[in-house]
Amino acid sequence: MKNRILALSLGSLLAGPAFAQEPSQPFAAYEEKLPGTDFTFKMVPIPAGEVTLGSPAGEKGRNTDEGPQKKVKINAFWMSAYEVTFEQYDVYSDPEKDKTPIPDGMTRPSPPYIDLTLGMGKVGGYPANSMSQYGALMYCKWLYAKTGVFYRLPTEAEWEYACRAGATTAYPFGNNAAQLKEYAWYAGNSDNKYHKVGELKPNAWGLYDMLGNVAEWTLDQYDEQYLSHAAENDPWIKPTSKTPRTIKGGNYRDEAVALRSASRLKSDPNWNRRDPQIPKSYWWNADAPFVGFRLVRPQQQPSKEEAERFFEEVVDQYKGAR
């Protein structure tokens, strides 16, 4: 079993260029309606290209896990312009809100033991928060079942590439942290809570709240030596256990340095320490209100079999990943 998994090329799981269906969607921004609702989410094209991951030795606030810098190639994908919102995620969480349920059903998140939005807001476009990485990936799986389009979390490399949008500086807009407040909700301006998505300026590629607001799950197992281990094409540290995962972007509680494009956060089982039950919830982190996610759609869509294999090997096998 294990050998079979390792023998798979990452490419086939992530983008499947060898077997992919022809992309029918023109490579341009589009809006997708969440089936059975009035909610839409906007996807923007991120062209294929190169990016230097990590930070130079002299970057202020740099951590050792941000080096040595590495140049990698990234295939084309769409990324959601905004973080997935509470209302969108709730259509998945709450069977009463899902007016077009998938016929054979699908596991939905169990209701959290306490309200994990902590009163920061639910209605009108606030980001979804507090879900485990598994909860974020299951939303992607549900979306695939509903739309036929393969959505997933971004890899760490895709995330950083999209965030930098061509910039090699500490932040996508340069090195001056004083400008951060125009682009990001962080300790300096957030009033210690998340805000509605898209209220501030986007980066050069039209992505809002990449920095700050809620930090964002990626598809990668966290690896201290990520940059030494990263492949040259579409690097991805494939999960080998349920935790930890890499989180990018910093959040509304963070100081400016944690919002640098190269900054990496390692998920922590402590983020669920207030969950008093055993078994602990697969779906939620009771103490990580600062984590959310956004979607990626690889331009080269995997075949049905490949997509199913991805969900089996990356999601179902690590049920409860956090």
């Binding site: 209701p111 033991y113 306490i114 309200d115 939005t117 009163g119 055993i278 078994p279 919830s281």
Partner: protein
């Protein structure tokens, strides 16, 4: 937070097991040996625990007990249902499986049924009581009778008759020097303790009023199966029946009410309020309300306004606000402000502990040292009664006096605990359960 299978985290154990036991109880004893309280003096002694009530919270509490620094071993389990017990056993194994001597429950020490608790208690030094709260008085009384230390979950009863029983057993526990910790874990939480210290130092002066909340969304429901007797159905959906749960004002909101009582160092004299079933109206929600608003009045005139609700998609808040002459404390934010809004103190979240673990760490450290330190039962019983009079007030529309309720003898328990016995409330022909109506429902008349 339910699930069907094992949760296998890697490296999840909070602590490596410190010492191997020198007295591994590997089936050497055929007769259960009753340990005496304060028997523990040396580090080599195993502290044997029994888990009574194997749901998610009980399983969590057992794992926390097994995660303390002391030499704790689970030797017996009891639940009304075999499936719950077996899931719990597997979950505990998944959590502590790599720790030698932590899990030592023989097949014949897995007890199922309404009377399972007695046999499990007999095998242990410390018992964890985590069944639905309706059973707590009987289980607590038995544990103390058998001379055991106790960790029990809140609330400690669902009716005044149960409160009386707990208060009586609490006195016996004191005389026997048996440690009793109750899972009102805010009292064991660093941020709350830090704010309480500053309150005692007079930072906000005397209390003038308090506001407490547990406003949240919906909870679980377990579908009825044709093979269920009515008793089994209610046991599996215990949250929606008062003899088992006490309504959510008692089962959950007690946490926030307890904070009010803690800071007042007193219990309210009267309760008056309102509540009902606004959105959660279906038969699957049994007889409990979906909202309560209660004005509690203390002997010195201070009012605690308490609100709790289970309204899906409404605003949520679980918190306490304590207003003093000189300022206010907002507990969930760990902040103290003066009346102009200036921050006088802000607790640093980085210093927060895991209160569910702390209560076990402190309890088992005391037991291992042979100390008598914890006597939570009396105040937990009085705080539970505080929540109960809130329910009686919202159900009836009457003003309910604490003392009168305590001595009322009001008892919700069934005549007989058995799966073929009738529960104290049964549905009508359409499957609906009668629920309280203010002005019609009356107490102590």
């Amino acid at each position: 937070m339910q699930q069907e299978e094992l949760n296998q985290f890697h490296g999840k154990s909070r602590r490596d097991f410190v010492k191997e036991s020198s007295l591994l109880a590997g089936g050497l004893l055929t007769m259960p040996m009753l340990s005496q309280a304060n028997f523990f003096s040396g580090a080599g002694d195993v502290i044997k625990i029994a888990l009574i009530g194997c749901g998610g919270r009980g399983t969590g509490a057992a794992v926390q007990a097994l995660s303390t620094k002391e030499n704790v071993q689970l030797v017996a389990m009891a639940d009304a249902f075999a499936d719950r017990l077996n899931n719990s056993y597997n979950d505990i194994k998944g959590e502590v499986g790599d720790k030698p001597g932590k899990l030592n429950v023989k097949e014949e020490h897995k007890f199922v049924g309404f009377d399972a608790y007695q046999k499990a208690i007999a095998l242990a030094d410390v018992v964890i009581l985590a069944t639905p709260p309706g059973f707590r008085p009987v289980h607590f009384e038995e544990a103390i009778k058998q001379g055991k230390h106790v960790f029990m979950e809140k609330p400690v009863a669902t009716d005044p008759a149960g409160i009386k029983k707990v208060l009586e057993a609490a006195e016996v526990a004191k005389s026997k020097k048996l440690n009793v910790v109750v899972g009102l874990q805010r009292r064991y939480q660093t941020s709350y303790r830090e704010l309480y210290k500053r309150f005692q130092d007079g930072i906000i002066g005397d209390i003038v009023s308090m506001q407490v909340w547990w406003n949240q969304g919906a909870l679980w429901v377990k579908p009825r199966k044709p093979e269920y007797t009515e008793m089994e159905y209610q046991m599996r959906n215990w949250y929606y029946f008062n003899w088992l749960c006490g309504d959510h004002i008692v089962e959950q909101h007690i946490h926030n009410i307890d904070v009010g009582n803690w800071f007042m160092n007193d219990y309210p004299v009267t309760a008056v309020g309102m509540g009902g079933r606004a959105v959660r109206t279906g038969k699957e929600f049994g007889e409990i309300y979906d909202h309560h608003y209660v004005e509690y009045r203390y002997g010195n005139g201070v009012v605690m306004n308490s609100q709790c609700r289970h309204w899906k998609d409404a605003d949520s808040r679980v918190d306490e606000e304590i207003v003093g002459v000189k300022g206010r404390m907002i507990m969930d934010k760990g902040v103290i402000k003066d009346h102009k809004g200036k921050v006088l103190y802000q607790f640093d979240r980085k210093n927060e502990n895991q209160p569910y673990q702390a209560e076990h760490d402190e309890l088992f450290a005391a037991i291992a040292k042979g100390e008598y330190k914890f006597h939570d039962a009396e105040r937990a019983a009085k705080t539970t009664l505080t929540a109960i009079i809130g329910r009686l007030a919202t159900y009836s529309g009457q003003t309910i006096a604490f003392d009168k309720a305590l001595n009322s003898g009001l008892n919700l328990q069934p005549a007989k605990y058995a799966f073929d016995a009738a529960p104290p409330i049964v549905p009508d022909a359409q499957g609906n359960y009668a629920y309280a109506k203010p002005g019609i429902t009356r107490y102590f008349s």
